[in-house]
Amino acid sequence: YPTVYVPICTYTYIYMTIIERLDQELKLIGEYGLKNKREIWRIQYLLAKIRSAARYLLTLDEKSPKRIFQGEALLRRMVRQGLLGENEEKLDYVLGLTLPKLLERRLQTKVFKLGLAKSVHHARCLIRQRHIRVGKQLVDIPSFLVRVDSEKHIDFAITSPFGGGRPGRVKRRNLRNPKEKKTEEEAENNE
């Protein structure tokens, strides 16, 4: 028997069921400058753990000591992370948390939103290339989740050329070697 190759893709049907999720994930990657799907699934897992904790606590009795103690602790952590506002300190609001809210707390988006970078991708480069500090600590992890009170202290690192340190390797080389070319260009720029 000669075999007949029928050009029907069996994967199209599987694709139909997941196309929505793929679209959403791609949008998040574009908006927050992520590297791959794994970064999204990582945050999803974190969110799922938080939500299941809140869900379990809500099934307990209102006055049970476990609910009070662990509920307060969970809410305090959420407020500290900047995921809940000051007037949203109830367990029901924890169940309303979404992925974009968590992704907003990443250092990469914070650097962009605070005007320290020109785009999210530029922010990722700056962070990875050790130009950004949070408080006094140099941070080069783009997925660092920024706390509310650290948000104000995101700034350029002291040793970075953007933050007042000595100029970078390329600039130093140019200043050392073709000095005559550079001075001519500077004179032209002044006029």
């Binding site: 007037n87 605070l114 005007g115 320290l116 970078a117 020109k118 530029h122 948000e151 104000k152 202290h153 995101i154 700034d155 350029f156 050329p161 953007f162 933050g163 007042g164 000595r166 500077e186 720029n189 002044n190």
Partner: protein, 560 residues
């Protein structure tokens, strides 16, 4: 010899004159020469031959006059004459002239006591000391330096400089202390940011911190047509932060308060939010949202006016900043100019040409919201400029704030209530409440959300007891009145007028109530003493205070 009220200068198509003092008219025709006229002596001091002088500026202590003419080169290509001239005002001699090609930032800046004068030239800032313009005292060299602002106040002076960023490099604002400019650790503080094309730097009065409003010309996200603005805070001790503004949108206005401990920012898409921040950039008080785009502190710093001028109708809110209470909400429609009087009590709003050519005039308000004086220019004339006579800071004392409106002869114009247009089919229908914007009330007027908890059993019982008592009192009163109608009536009326207290000022009312409570308690104690009960020590002291309390009560009621 300061007069008791500041003078008001008015410049319009009718001429240049002053109000509230002896009005004397001086001619304001356009002279090809620059004349310096002494106002107190009414005489011509000096006259300079400066054709095409476009800008004039006096130094802070009025010792030097700077003038600027447009820079022209002669036809054969040789460099033109220096066009920025500096003259000594007292002697009329010419001090120095410079070539200044750009109009922007043409004027050299002086420090407040004139020991320093600074000028931005190419990639450097030149500093001159004691108005000696022949030798440059020191230079600050920074590639592509664009703008600088000298700090106010006494020595040591500081300079905030702004350098825009080139490709890849961010723009930054640096603080230096004069005269340490050289060396790697010369800068007191440094803040870099990317999204900035133009920058406005605001020093506070004590020269301890600068607020920087960085604005871009184009908003890449497309949210605003006017570009994007961010607010940065840099302190001379090296701290710097980005001020987090809860609402998205442009930053309309930022002002420091006079004690340099707080600043107020008006920001966000309309209706804009106004918030007071402290030196750590934490919000201290939030005024909620409203139609406003400007903020003005009074000269003494205890009153803040949030106003909406320009493309807004002119609604103003006058707030007491110590207690965060709203004093009044006047409306000054179509105003283009707003100024506090140096005595800290009166406000001037004016409609001036060429911004608006119709309905030119000015109004003088008291801060409690009443118009004290109004002047409308006759219909074909224009008003160009109005300003208060400037006074030094300490001359007028700070007075306590009243909340009651000061009486005025000028009636408050009620603007026509604008009703929305409804097509004939939808008229005379029941009113549905739909709002365009979410209005947020100020922080102290927000209803507490914590009261949702259902009242406990005891609280409910107490509430019911309270209501029952009230109902019983009402019945007793209504029972009594028909029986003893004529006699209690004259008795109760003087009592009720006393208790109502005529003053509209809630603060004084509260105080009167408290005093009356204390007096009642003392009377009860006296009765007990009369029946023979032995009084405790503190009760005896209370009785002795009675005369003092009576005196206070009389004073307050007389003061109404």
């Amino acid at each position: 010899m300061a007069p008791s009220t500041p003078l008001l200068t008015v410049r319009g198509s009718e001429g240049l004159y002053m109000v509230n003092g002896p009005p004397h008219f001086t001619e304001s025709t356009v002279f090809p020469r620059v004349n310096i006229i002494s106002v107190t002596n009414k005489g011509l001091l000096h006259s300079f031959d400066l054709p095409k002088a476009v800008c004039l500026e006096f130094s802070p202590k009025n010792t030097v006059l700077a003038t600027w003419q447009p820079y022209t080169t002669s036809k054969d290509g040789t460099a033109g004459i220096p066009n920025l001239q500096l003259y000594d005002v007292k002697t009329g001699t010419w001090l120095k002239s410079f070539i200044q090609k750009k109009t922007q930032n043409w004027c050299p800046s002086w420090s407040e006591d004139e020991t320093l004068c600074a000028r931005n030239v190419n990639n450097e800032v030149h500093f001159f000391e004691n108005n000696n313009f022949n030798t440059i005292a020191s230079k600050l060299h920074l590639q592509k330096i664009n703008d600088f602002v000298l700090s106010p106040g006494p020595q040591p002076y500081k300079v905030a400089v702004y350098v825009p960023g080139s490709k890849g490099a961010p723009s930054f604002v640096r603080l230096y202390q004069y005269p340490n400019f050289a060396g790697p650790h010369a800068a007191l503080a440094n803040k870099s940011f990317f999204k900035a094309d133009k920058v406005t730097m605001l020093w506070n009065k004590k020269a301890t911190a600068v607020l920087v409003i960085a604005s871009t010309d184009v908003d890449k996200t497309g949210a605003s047509y006017y570009g994007e603005q961010t607010l940065h805070y840099i302190a001379t001790n090296g701290e710097s932060a980005v001020v987090q503004l809860p609402k998205n949108g442009p930053i309309y206005d930022v002002v420091w308060n006079s004690s340099s401990t707080e600043f107020c920012a008006v920001y966000g898409f309309m209706p804009a939010k106004a918030t007071i921040f402290n030196l750590k950039c934490d919000p201290v008080f939030d005024f909620g949202t409203g139609p406003r785009n400007a903020a003005y502190y009074s000269p003494h710093g205890h009153i803040l006016v949030l106003a909406g001028f320009g493309n807004l109708r002119g609604q103003m809110e006058v707030w007491d900043v110590k207690n965060y209470k709203l004093i009044s909400k006047p409306v000054a429609s179509d105003s283009t100019y707003f100024a506090w009087c140096p005595d800290g009590e009166h406000i001037l709003t004016a409609t001036c040409a060429p911004r608006l050519r119709v309905n030119n005039g000015y109004k003088i308000w008291h801060y409690t919201g009443s118009i004290l004086h109004k002047y409308d220019v006759p219909s074909n004339a224009e008003l160009w400029q109005v300003s208060w006579q400037p006074f030094l800071d300490g001359i007028f004392p700070a007075k306590t704030i009243t909340y009651q409106a000061v009486p005025s002869e000028v009636p408050n114009e009620e603007p026509k209530v604008a009703t929305a247009y409804r097509p004939p089919a939808l008229r005379n229908k029941p009113i549905t409440n739909s709002k365009l914007h979410e209005e947020e009330p100020p922080q102290n007027m927000k209803s507490q959300s914590g009261n949702d908890k259902p009242l406990s059993k005891t609280a409910l019982k107490n509430q019911r007891k309270h209501e029952a008592k009230k109902a019983a009192k009402q019945e007793a009163r209504s029972d009594r009145s028909p029986d003893l109608a004529p006699t209690p009536a004259p008795q109760s009326t003087p009592r009720s007028t006393l208790s109502q207290s005529i003053s509209g000022d809630p603060e004084i009312d509260k105080k009167i109530k408290n005093l009356k409570k204390k007096l009642k308690a003392i009377e009860q104690l006296k009765e007990q003493a009369a029946t023979g009960k032995q009084l405790e020590k503190n009760q005896l002291e209370k009785i002795q205070k009675e005369t003092a309390l009576l005196q206070e009560l009389e004073d307050l009621e007389l003061g109404i």
